[in-house]
């Protein structure tokens, strides 16, 4: 008896501001099956109200849209704007609603595998260097410190930079209740990597699911070697870097009060504001440099966390559907070095735009493989989905704004774009049905 194959897909894009939340419904002849890909936000539209209440509304809508049952949940990576909707506080919250939809499987990147702790002695199915997860935890600690200092730095760096510091920092802070909920909401959990099975095969018959990112450390090695780096040293240096940053951040936070003798250094100091006349200019300059440093560190750690994203490719018959989370080039590079992946990318019908349309997360070498319309008048075969919010991240003058204007133009010209920024006021979600050919 032939396996049932979906005849169509519906992609629901939920308005979560700067975040991702997609429900993909596979329409089989006798039933529908639903996969939730991410649910989180760090910045909601102004009329949305409190995040927790709003995400509860979104979760309630998801429950309605999937008829009370999820086949699977995919949490592409641990950033808040992708997982805050899985939070459960005191047994309540959006995460509780999603948990009650009883997903049959939860898919996360291999970097979230709880068996792969820093001091793990038993190897998991994925070969990894000790300390990788530890460095993700260190990154979260550094992010928390950045958020804690953002308010103080507003007066020296201006509100735009301080806001970016706060929001990117916030995005990287550990979200323990969401993480725990994801780890326990289903009996089956898969921690995936390039080429691993997705865990979705049983719940989505007739659909080929392929994981093309993130690469494992072992897979990354081949790319690193190609670039002339020593992989062991590469990871060790990174782990040491974040470990030192985290220790320094922790030490800075440990200081108390503001009186004489306070501060992390073991000698008498006074408040900066009490500095002698001839040194005050230097104080302001150094505070500005320190704030700029914080921002650079936070951007760096944000990139590293983005690169743990699951890149998921569904293929049904001749159509492929690409969901890359927030993966940037470092994550993509292994996949793009594989000729069969390049071939698959040419068949992509749907592309969920990476990282809310930032300039780093739709690598041009990947974009060139997609069936982008050749001109404004050409038939637009490719459908793209962008969940974003303007004015939250980056600045146009430095060409770092998200979504990036040039990418937005390319998406509009070369594809049929669904953009949450185009949703009307109060619209909670938009559904697009796609026939499978």
């Amino acid at each position: 008896m032939p396996t049932a194959v979906p005849s169509a897909l519906t992609i629901r894009t939920y308005q979560v501001g700067f975040g991702d939340c997609f429900l993909v419904t596979f329409h089989y002849p006798k039933q529908d099956r639903h996969v939730l890909i991410d649910c989180g936000t760090v910045s909601l539209p102004p009329t949305a109200g409190a995040a927790s209440a709003y995400l509860t509304r979104v979760a309630t809508q998801i429950a309605k849209d999937c008829g009370g049952k999820l086949a699977a949940v995919v949490a592409t990576h641990r950033h808040r704007d992708h997982v805050s909707g899985f939070s459960v506080k005191n047994g309540k919250g959006p995460g509780r609603i999603i948990r009650d939809l009883k997903p049959e499987v939860v898919v996360q990147p291999w970097t979230e595998d709880p068996r792969a702790k820093v001091d793990a002695t038993t190897p998991t199915e994925v070969t990894q260097l000790r300390g990788f997860q530890g460095s993700l935890d260190d990154i979260s600690s550094v992010a928390a410190h950045a958020v804690a200092t953002a308010g103080r730095l507003t007066r020296v760096v201006g509100s735009d930079s301080a806001a970016e510091l706060a929001i990117v920092g916030m995005d990287n802070i550990k979200n323990p209740d969401a993480v725990k909920n994801l780890q326990t909401m289903s009996k089956r959990r898969t921690y995936v990597y390039f080429g691993s099975s997705s865990g979705l095969e049983e719940v989505l018959p007739g659909v080929a699911t392929r994981i093309i990112g993130p690469p494992t450390l072992k897979q990354s090695k081949s790319i690193l070697k190609e670039q002339g780096s020593n992989p062991a040293e590469y990871w060790q240096l990174r782990a040491d870097f974040w470990s030192r940053q985290a220790r320094a951040a922790k030490m800075s936070e440990a200081r108390s009060g503001g009186g004489a003798g306070d501060g992390p250094l073991p000698w008498q100091t006074v408040r900066g504001s009490a500095m002698p006349l001839g040194t005050r200019w230097h104080r302001l300059r150094l505070l500005q440099e320190q704030a700029a440093s914080h921002l650079n560190i936070v951007r760096t750690l944000d990139d590293q966390m983005n690169n743990t994203s699951v890149i998921l490719l569904f293929t049904i018959k001749q159509s492929s559907f690409l969901f890359p989370g927030d993966a940037q080039y470092e994550n993509w590079s292994y996949a793009l070095s594989q000729s069969d992946v390049l071939e698959m990318l040419r068949k992509v019908t749907v592309y969920k735009v990476g990282h809310h349309g930032s300039r780093n997360a739709t690598p041009k070498s990947m974009w060139k493989q997609l069936p982008v319309a050749a001109g404004k008048s050409a038939k637009r075969r490719l459908m793209t989905f962008l969940s974003t919010r303007e004015g939250v991240y980056g600045q146009a003058k430095s060409k770092t704004e998200v979504p990036r204007a040039t990418l937005l133009t390319a998406l509009r010209d070369g594809s049929q774009l669904t953009n949450t920024e185009d949703f009307g006021k109060g619209v909670l979600s938009q559904a697009v049905q796609i026939k499978v050919t």
Partner: protein
């Protein structure tokens, strides 16, 4: 003059028995205020991480209270020693530059006179120079065992960051984004100065020799006095003693110098595009030259080839070799072009500067050692490759008509007129915007003990063109660069006048040359035209990128 105690290297490099290894540096006996605050350096102990300030002590800052202290903890725990340590190392590095160049050096943020130095600027494993800060900032951080590590206590780190400030003072154009070599030069040269400064300390070299193959004996066997053996006993021993605590703050240049097998192919490999890694090649070449010269200096001291030598004498010869090479390297800056520097240019500049001051190099062959070791690492002189590699004197006859010798030594207007009158002879296009950026009279002492006067002047040219116009000037446009992109091209040159005001050398980088094609491609690949990039190097971030080995993939971005 007045001497100050500093750590010979850092708190990890100790005398037997764990005693502090200190050394004395001699500095001008200037008036000092608490800080210390002198006429060139002001130590301000402000911690931006905590927004806290440590007031300097009330004692007399000219009095060195740390002479003969062997308890390393006493030095590490004393913030006044930290302040003295950075003040003395910065001043001593500045002194090295001024002595080598034969003139005062103004900081890049001129008209400011005092470099601000923060010994405990922030809680991070980092240290950097910033022109905007008009100073140096040194971080501190807890080690794994929660012991505080102070980057201001590492002589190589302090000398490295001071050198960034001094290169910027002498060649501000080197911070401008350009070729891979130019970015790498800032790092490599700062390492060369830092390491050779460290090896100038006889006490330190002596201890390293005692730790190494010589096994603590007052005599060293002749078999140990070969470059390959000294590389192990001195370079590697120091690298190992310095340990891993400051990995990421300091470069791996010392270890690389000890371990890199010479090969002319490194510079062509993609991994050596990264500034710090590329800089290691230059450092390895110079440090190998240092070892070679050191050995040459020891040969005349032995009556027979197998005669062992007194360890102290070996250390003294090593320290002298380090100082001589350091001065050759520093003097080279005056003979470098003001923009788009390559390693090859630097080598030609070093050879030329040394020939001018010490024509006779037959005793220890410093130049031969430098040349052969650079060649072994793929660095070849820019000119006269088959010969000595020195810059050519001007080929065409230049005119001095209407110029006055006195003003040519100090007046940018007069130097500009010289350029204007001789544009054709010097092959300088007088169309683009041209300005003379510095005129610096110098006085150096040659081997014959006579003073040599020179005047070093720099001019810079700029032209703004649309990308579509590049081809008509013989410059290739990066494939993906839009034709409507506005591009600024830089050219310029260094003019060296002799003591009679005659032009000795013109080290020029023409504005319209195919060299610009490579520069534009490199800038395009590194995202310079995509915004979000600093117009000048940001050393703080550069240091972090070095550790994380982040690669710029501008061509993948939007």
């Amino acid at each position: 003059m007045r001497s100050f105690t500093i750590l010979a290297q850092d708190p990890a490099v100790l005398l037997p028995g764990g005693r502090a290894l200190t050394t004395q540096v001699w500095l001008p006996a200037e008036r000092l205020r608490p800080g210390p605050k002198g006429h060139r350096v002001h130590v301000i102990d402000f911690d931006a991480a905590a927004d806290r300030y440590r007031a300097p002590g009330t004692g007399d800052p000219t009095k060195d209270e740390f002479v003969g202290v062997e308890d390393i903890d006493r030095l590490v725990r004393n913030p006044h020693f930290h302040a003295q340590n950075v003040y003395a190392i910065v001043m001593s590095t500045l002194g090295e530059f001024e002595a080598a160049l034969g003139r005062r050096v103004s900081w890049a943020f001129s008209p400011g006179h005092q470099l601000k130095v923060s010994p405990h600027a922030f809680a991070e494993a980092n240290a950097y120079y910033s022109r905007a800060l008009e100073g140096l900032a040194f971080g501190y951080f807890p080690s794994r065992d929660q012991t505080l590590v102070y980057t201001c206590l590492s002589r190589d780190v302090v000398a490295h960051e001071t050198t960034h400030a001094l290169i910027d003072a002498l060649r501000s154009g080197f911070l401008r984004p350009s070729s891979a070599d130019q970015a790498a030069f800032h790092e490599g040269f700062a390492d060369i100065v830092a390491l050779l400064s460290v090896f100038e300390s006889i006490e330190l070299v002596d201890v390293l020799l005692a730790h190494g193959a010589a096994g603590g004996s007052p005599l060293i066997a002749a078999s140990e006095l070969e470059p390959v053996k000294l590389r192990e006993s001195v370079l590697l021993t120091l690298a190992e003693q310095m340990g891993e605590t400051l990995t990421g703050v300091r470069d791996r240049a010392l270890r690389a110098s000890a371990q890199l097998v010479p090969s002319p192919h490194y510079l062509d490999q993609p991994v050596y595009d990264e500034p710090h890694t590329r800089g290691e090649i230059l450092v390895a070449a110079v440090m190998n030259a240092f070892l070679e010269v050191w050995v040459k200096r020891l040969k005349p001291l032995r009556l027979t080839p197998r005669q062992p030598l007194n360890r102290r004498v070996v250390a003294e010869e090593g320290a002298t070799a380090a100082q001589q090479l350091l001065r050759i390297a520093i003097r080279a800056l005056d003979y470098c072009p003001p923009i788009d520097l390559s390693f090859d240019d630097f080598l030609s500049a070093a050879l030329t500067a040394d020939v001018e001051l010490y024509p006779d190099d037959s005793k220890y062959h410093y130049r031969d050692s430098l040349l052969s070791n650079c060649r072994a690492f793929g660095i070849r002189p820019s000119v006269n490759r088959a010969g000595g590699g020195v810059w050519d004197p001007p080929l065409a006859q230049v005119s001095y008509e209407g110029l006055h010798f006195e003003s040519l030594q100090r007046d940018p207007e007069t130097v500009f007129r010289f350029l204007w009158e001789n544009a054709a002879a010097l092959d300088v296009d007088d169309g683009p915007y041209t300005r003379v950026t510095s005129v610096r009279p110098c006085m150096r002492v040659g081997t014959d003990q006579f003073t040599i006067r020179e005047t070093v002047a720099e001019y810079v040219q700029t032209a703004q063109v649309w990308a579509r116009e590049l081809r008509q000037h013989g410059i290739r446009r990066p494939t993906e660069m839009p034709e409507t992109q506005l591009v600024t091209l830089y050219g310029g040159g260094t003019l060296i006048f002799d003591e009679f005001g005659r032009l000795k050398y013109h080290v020029g980088k023409g504005l319209w040359s195919d060299r610009q094609s490579g520069r534009l491609q490199s800038l395009w690949d590194h995202g310079f035209y995509q915004g979000g990039e600093a117009a000048q190097s940001d050393f703080a971030q550069l240091h972090r990128d070095r550790v994380l080995q982040r690669r710029t993939l501008a061509r993948e971005r939007w």
